[in-house]
Amino acid sequence: MIPAAAPTRALDAPSFSTSRFRAEREADWIAFDLLLTKLEKKGAKALTSEELLQLPLLYRATLSSLSIARATSLDKALLDHLEALSIRGYFLVYGVRESRLNRLRRFFLYDWPAAVRSVWKETIIIALIILLGALTSYSLVASNPEWYYNFVGEDMSGGRDPRATTEFLRSTLGHGKAASGGESGLHVFATYLFTHNSQVSIMSFALGFAFGVPTMMLEYYQGIGLGAMMAVFAGKGLGFDFGGWLFIHGTTELFAAALSGAAGLRIGAAVVFPGARSRLQAASEAGRTAGKVMIGVILMLLAAGLLEGFGRQLITDTMLRYGIGSLMLLFWIAYYYIPRREDVT
């Protein structure tokens, strides 16, 4: 392609030889190598338009050289180099077709809601499982408070158990004098909650491939803790207040928990019931959808952590808490489930 290289080296080889082949094409490979290095280091923007036009030409020249070399040459170093160069070139030339900003935009506008929408069945199942867990423990604790100690560990409850006084329980909800922690520790608390919850969600997603069973167990367990707590507060006549305390961040957090479970369940279901596809293909398709959902879940948990750490501690009015919680729930539902134009195409 660039004939200028040939005459520089006088060859006493026969009219076709692999040495001649190499001497004639070597300049292209070197140019391609340099271009790829520049592309890798500085990105596509650093290339001039002339270099951009050269890129596919040099790529094809290299691939064609590889084909010829494989058929004619026994020079191992040459073959290895051409192979490595072609692989590198292929992934760069065919790799990224979109700018990062564009990808981000598309993710928030279309991909994230679409992924969440597509796991709606699993989301309902997981939500029912959480509800079932909550109802189980609620009814058990309500009938016999001793059950509470089986469900909620000592370190989790922090004194919020059936023996506690109404006054103490009220104080843990942020009413009364001893609002928990004071204001200075809020952001630390919020961050801790966020990282902890994210870790749990990732686990519940990752466990999904074991046919979704551990995922469902984990979500059921989450519901159990919730219901037991609820029963204690309701027993002391604080049910409504506790609801508000929970609702302000709980709508976001539980929604995220349900989605992470749904993502895990989607993978488990794809492995068990692959349908017409092969099991591997079904798993990888489910995995990609679930991956998108999981980015969303981590972002939702960040929001929930902020609401829990700041919103809940600063806003003590129960009605306002309910208001914010419902608003968040409405926002998420609208964002995910209102169909948009991209769906049709």
């Binding site: 080889a13 030889s17 691939l63 026994l74 192979e83 072609s86 692989i87 990808r103 990282t195 991956g291």
Partner: protein
């Protein structure tokens, strides 16, 4: 003995072929991607973990220093968030780049590729790396929970650890060396090392000093040719002496010239002979194959 050696040669060739996966580009060329071995994968993981821990320690020290200086607990928040981001997004961030490899993978010369030959998408990278959380930490969790709380017997703990290890070591049990995460994300990890273009040793002035007869050249095949090329490029006098002596003994030539001159001439004439045969569709894999 030669039959055993021939068998061993054929075996190693087929083992290499088993690692190769067809990967046809739109231009119709098979790139013949090679699956990265489990050793390389483990090495890459180890390097990445060491780097993460180093970064974490450095970050903690800086945050500690800033925290003492400013007397505010906002540094605590930054530290917790930073540690979380580092742990979760180290792999995702690097694999989303144009080289689709973490520093550890780059060092080992491997990269992540979409199994269907398409573009490696962000959701696949996220899925394969969130599963890693499970693969890495489940065995550790089983161990620590069992040991700390003392609520399970040794045997139960062992069973738990073994169960979680089968998940973590999943890549040892399949041909494609896929992790659990690769399986779910539809990816695999292949060799992508860089190979420098070495000089062409088949041209130049010295090299036609000796002329070998057809019978003298007919004793070796492609495998031996490429081994000879390796020795010549290595340029180690002791190895060259050994190889030159072996060839001389085989073809019955006395020690008359310098080893490198002898080897180079022999290499060139053998290469051109085998390449000529290759053009006519005859590929002689090694010296045991018929000429």
């Amino acid at each position: 003995m030669s039959a055993a050696a021939a068998q061993a040669n054929a075996k190693s060739r087929s083992a290499r072929a088993k690692k190769i996966r067809q990967f046809v580009t739109p231009e119709g060329v098979d790139l013949e991607l090679r699956i990265a071995s489990s050793g390389l994968r483990f090495g890459a993981l180890l390097v990445d973990l060491i780097l993460i821990v180093l970064a974490l320690v450095l970050f903690s020290l800086v945050m500690l220093w800033v925290g003492f200086a400013s007397q505010s607990d906002i540094t605590m928040v930054v530290w917790m968030l930073g540690a979380f981001l580092l742990r979760t997004f180290w792999f995702i961030g690097f694999e989303l780049g144009s080289r689709a490899a973490t520093p550890g993978k780059r060092l080992m010369g491997i990269r992540v590729v979409a199994r269907n030959g398409g573009r490696l998408t962000a959701d696949a990278v996220v899925a394969r790396n969130l599963i890693r959380e499970l693969e890495l930490f489940l065995p550790l969790m089983m161990l620590s929970v069992g040991a700390a709380e003392d609520m399970v017997s040794g045997w139960t703990m062992l069973a738990g650890v073994l169960w979680s290890l089968t998940l973590s070591l999943f890549l040892l049990f399949n041909r494609d060396r896929m992790r659990m995460g690769d399986l779910i994300a539809g990816t695999w990890v292949v060799m992508a090392q860089r190979v420098k273009l070495d000089a062409d040793i088949a041209i130049g002035t010295a090299g036609d000093a000796m002329i070998f007869s057809e019978a003298e050249l007919a004793v070796y095949g492609i495998f031996e040719l490429q081994e000879l090329e390796r020795v010549l490029r290595g340029n180690d006098p002791r190895a060259m002496r050994e190889v030159a002596d072996a060839i001389r003994a085989k073809i019955g030539r006395p020690v008359a010239e310098e080893d490198d001159v002898f080897l180079l001439s022999y290499y060139r004439q053998l290469k051109s002979r085998l390449e000529r045969k290759l053009l006519f569709g005859k590929r002689r894999e090694d010296k045991y194959a018929s000429d």
